[in-house]
């Protein structure tokens, strides 16, 4: 069979449990087993083999606990199990399952620790492993941090292999033929005479069998899905309008609702006048909720019209009222009293500054909203001591705990039904909208309430990426970068976000300096210091989190230093690079883009590199300086992920990440007046449109041994690559985002 690799017991401790009419085995465990959540809901004749596989008469269902926000994780998770389980692609069914600690995410916590991805030292490895243990203990079933693939790569294949092996043993028992005479093919066990026994027919017998404690995984050469082009399982539905998103869900007897709460988040409400709203057509009830009120109506549009007709007297914002006041706070935090971290301090920057001409610059980047296209929504039904919630969430367990606290209903009577999401980009790591639906459902016991935000409610209640400022100093000598001192000030995303989830955050916040302190460049005198701005507007993770801003701050000033040294942006980075995988990534983008070649009249290029989420990404962007402004022509992207699991989805994710990074850097900002975001819809909050989109050429490198996710890493280098190209074209240094404040785009 060519199966060569044995997986040790360290990843899977196997137990088994007999249940009525079926089987469940293969708990995922760390000393103390976590129960298999599929056991609770099995009907007669069903089997749950590992927490990731359920078999019933309708077929084999793969449980995909990581949320699909559009990044294709359902398909990738299914492929990993299917590869070993041996089922045909077209017969795969997926189900997000129900929230369970069994689906904890080891990698998301591991990568949040203060060790650079390039650090393979003993301490770093141990600390990452410790992070994994904590992840399991607190049952973080999180989708985020580009962690789905790293987390699932081995364990979901092992789950598939355990299930397959168990079904083979069941077939041996049922047929009386020795296990080693049996094979599998596309969802069936094949007997030597060619007879096939479908997995669905073997579930009952499998119930009586102890699962294997060790399995072997297929060698790469036998893979039929992983690394190949796999049509996404949601593509047909998404191309025909037949996919049901959370906002499309309909339940019998359901009412429609919309809410308004103080756009000065946390501000609260003094009073409101609903005398007009309650007379409007279709309005059934107006319900006070935390920070505002909700309207129950028979149609979403009527609910939105009515809630907008309520006159609210809001309280003041519990934070500085305007962006300019916030900027003062950020600037005044760039001093020792607010120092949060200094993970990088090589050589002696202070000394180097005494001997040379010091180059200095200050950079600013604004708050940015996630603004996924599907406005936040949730359905809640409270009935007979049971609470059901239908919503798209990246933190299902946390939502369950929140619901338990709010209602007093025990967790076993709370059911989260994960919905497909029309984007997230980090927005659905929060559960504020679901909490509002629960509040409404508490006032409407027995009736399902579907709560939908207007776009304006969504934009004014986002938890944005924080504004950031940096001060940078550096020196050059003999055509080389000699010293680089970068001070970054931002409020703590991690503290703000985890405090809302009720999880304590201790120690320095990596997000403040991510993709700055940990870059693989051996500059002789190099220091990166993070300063923590006291929390202002509540903030959260925005696609690529701290790296999204720091990729710009770090690269942009490095580009200034390289220019001052008279060096080449690619050659100098290669000279300084002390990480083999990163060096190869830079070399790859140089080759792809034919770096150094003449681009012709009025055409220019820029380069940037960021290592984030363990993924080195190098991008070169080519632009034309037209009479009417800058035109984006082409982007070359090289990224190192260890293994490209699906080349098409990979390319789509990288292209999307580049467009996300470029589009927001070009035109988007969230500014505040009287504590309220001034941009309330897509007319004021611009990102890229199709006519602006460059051609994007993607190359995935597979030199590394660790398999990495790709949802976020293409974002950080996009903006600084464009800024470098604009400098080459115009001589203007862009030290403030969005770039449209400095240059025009066509």
């Amino acid at each position: 069979m060519g199966r060569i690799k044995t997986i040790a017991r360290r990843t899977f401790l196997i137990g088994s449990a007999a249940i009525v009419g079926g089987v469940a085995f293969g708990y995922y465990a760390y000393k103390k087993p976590i129960t298999n959540p599929l056991l609770d809901d099995l009907a007669e004749g069903e089997a749950a083999i590992t927490p990731y596989v359920r078999i019933d008469q309708s077929g084999v269902t793969i449980i995909t606990p990581r949320a699909d926000k559009g990044q294709g994780t359902y398909s990738i998770q299914a492929a990993l199990v299917a590869e070993e389980l041996d089922i045909a692609w077209e017969n795969i069914q997926v189900d997000p399952g129900k929230p369970s600690p069994a689906y904890y995410n080891e990698k998301v916590v591991a990568e949040g620790l203060p060790f650079a991805a390039v650090d393979d030292g003993f301490m770093a490895r141990n600390a990452r492993a410790f992070g994994g243990v904590i992840g399991k203990l607190i049952g973080l079933q999180v989708t985020g941090g580009s962690s789905t693939v790293p987390d699932a790569y081995e364990k979901m294949r092992v789950a598939g292999a355990i299930a397959r092996e168990t079904l083979l043993l069941a077939a041996a028992k049922q047929s009386g033929i020795a296990r080693d005479q049996l094979k599998t093919k596309d969802g069936s066990v094949i007997l030597p005479d060619g007879t096939s026994l479908a997995y669905t027919e073997l579930a009952q017998t499998a119930a009586e069998i102890d699962p294997p404690s060790e399995v072997t995984l297929k060698p790469e050469s036998e893979w039929r899905y992983i690394g190949k082009e796999m049509p996404r399982i949601d593509m047909l539905a998404k191309s025909t309008g037949t996919l049901t998103y959370g906002i499309d869900m309909k339940l019998d007897g359901m009412v429609h609702a919309s809410v308004r709460t103080n756009p000065r988040i946390g501000g609260g409400v003094n009073s409101y006048d609903d005398s007009i709203a309650k007379t409007m057509r279709g309005v059934q009830k107006i319900i006070p909720i935390t920070g505002g009120a909700g309207v129950i109506a028979d149609n979403t549009w009527r609910a939105i019209q009515a809630v907008n007709a309520i006159e609210f007297d809001w309280k003041d914002a519990p934070y500085p009222k305007t962006s300019s006041l916030m900027w003062k706070n950020v600037k005044s935090s760039l001093k020792d009293d607010y120092r949060d971290s200094r993970f990088k301090d090589d050589g002696d920057v202070e000394k180097s500054f005494k001997n040379s001409n010091v180059i200095k610059a200050e950079y600013r980047i604004p708050h940015l909203a996630h603004a996924p296209l599907e406005p936040m929504n949730a359905i809640a039904l409270l009935k007979d001591g049971r609470l059901d919630i239908w919503t798209g969430t990246q933190m299902p367990i946390n939502l369950m705990q929140t619901a338990e606290k709010m209602t007093g209903i025990p967790a076993e009577n709370i059911h989260i039904h994960a919905q497909m999401m029309g984007g997230s980009f980090g927005r659905r790591l929060e559960d504020d909208f679901a909490r509002q639906a629960i509040e409404l459902a508490q006032a409407m016991e027995g009736t399902p309430v579907k709560m939908t935000w207007s776009r304006e409610e969504d934009m004014t209640h986002d938890f944005p990426r924080p504004m950031q400022m940096s001060s940078a100093w550096g020196t050059v000598k003999d055509g080389k970068v000699e010293s680089y001192d970068l001070a970054i000030a931002a409020a703590s995303t991690t503290t703000s976000q985890l405090s809302r989830a009720g999880i304590p955050a201790v120690g320095p916040d990596i997000a403040i300096v991510a993709a700055a302190w940990d870059q693989p460049f051996a500059i002789p005198n190099h220091r990166v210091t993070g300063y923590r701005v006291p929390e202002m507007v509540p903030i959260s993770s925005w696609r690529s989190v701290g790296a999204s801003g720091n990729g710009f701050l770090y690269n942009a000033f490095l580009d200034e230093l390289i220019h001052a040294a008279g060096a080449d942006p690619l050659m100098e980075r290669l000279r300084l690079c002390n990480h083999d995988l990163s060096r190869k990534t830079l070399e790859a983008v140089g080759e792809m883009s034919n770096w150094g070649s003449d681009l012709g009249v009025n055409r220019f290029r820029g380069l940037a590199f960021s290592l984030s989420f363990g993924v080195p990404v190098a991008e070169v962007i080519e632009i034309t300086n037209t009479e009417d402004g800058i035109k984006l022509d082409k982007v070359y992207v090289a990224c190192e992920v260890g293994k490209v699991l699906d080349p098409i989805n990979f390319e789509n994710q990288v292209q999307g990440g580049v467009i996300w990074g470029l589009g927001h850097a070009m035109a988007a900002e969230l500014t505040y007046d009287d504590g309220v975001p001034e941009q309330t819809n897509y007319d004021g909050y611009e990102s890229m449109r199709l006519y602006q989109a460059p051609e994007i050429i993607v190359h995935g490198l597979e030199n590394g041994t660790d398999v990495r996710g790709i949802g976020e890493p293409p974002v950080p280098p996009a903006a600084p690559a464009l800024a470098a190209a604009i400098f080459a074209a115009t001589g203007k240094r862009i030290r403030e985002l969005p770039m449209s404040n400095t240059v025009d785009f066509v």
């Binding site: 191309s239 025909t240 999401m421 292209q655 989109a693």
Partner: protein, 153 residues
């Protein structure tokens, strides 16, 4: 009572004339392919055809509706795809997919008017539909492929 025809079916509906077509479709008729994204004609997720012309349904008060409505559900089905939908599947365009109903409806109407589009034509026609995931390179490729498919029809 207002009479409207959607995907070949006639409906009598009793709503106020100012209710946008989008919400009549979604909440009164449970036709959810057209999506709510912005409500102000900025995102195009609600795009439908009115007598074949791509129209942002959030901007059409039902009292002003003149013509037959086609939504993505009426353009093609999973079993019988329209050429544009076929191209969308072949090019694996969608990420979250929330904007794609509107993108596809915009493309289908555009290609019916402009069977041999230039790159500039495509850029212009498809820029009033917003995609937050950034699938634009694939949308471009799929529109071109669909144009070729439709030529052969």
């Amino acid at each position: 009572m207002t009479k409207i025809t959607v995907n070949g079916t006639a409906y009598d509906i009793d709503v106020e004339p100012e209710m946008p077509l989008l919400w009549v479709l979604r909440d009164e008729l449970n036709i959810t392919g057209p999506k709510y994204g912005c409500g102000i004609a900025q995102c195009g997720a609600c795009t439908v055809h009115i007598d074949g012309i791509a129209t942002k349904s959030c901007q059409v008060p039902i009292g002003n509706l003149e013509g037959d409505v086609t939504t993505i559900e009426g353009l093609g089905t999973p079993e019988a795809l329209h050429a544009v939908q076929e191209a969308w599947v072949e090019h694996q365009v969608a990420q979250c997919g929330y904007c794609q109903s509107g993108q596809i409806m915009a493309a289908a109407s555009f290609l019916a008017e402009t069977p041999n589009p230039t790159d500039a034509d495509i850029d212009e026609a498809m820029s009033s539909n917003l995609c937050r995931c950034g699938t634009y390179p694939r949308i471009r490729a799929a529109v071109k492929a669909a144009a070729v498919k439709l030529e052969g029809v």
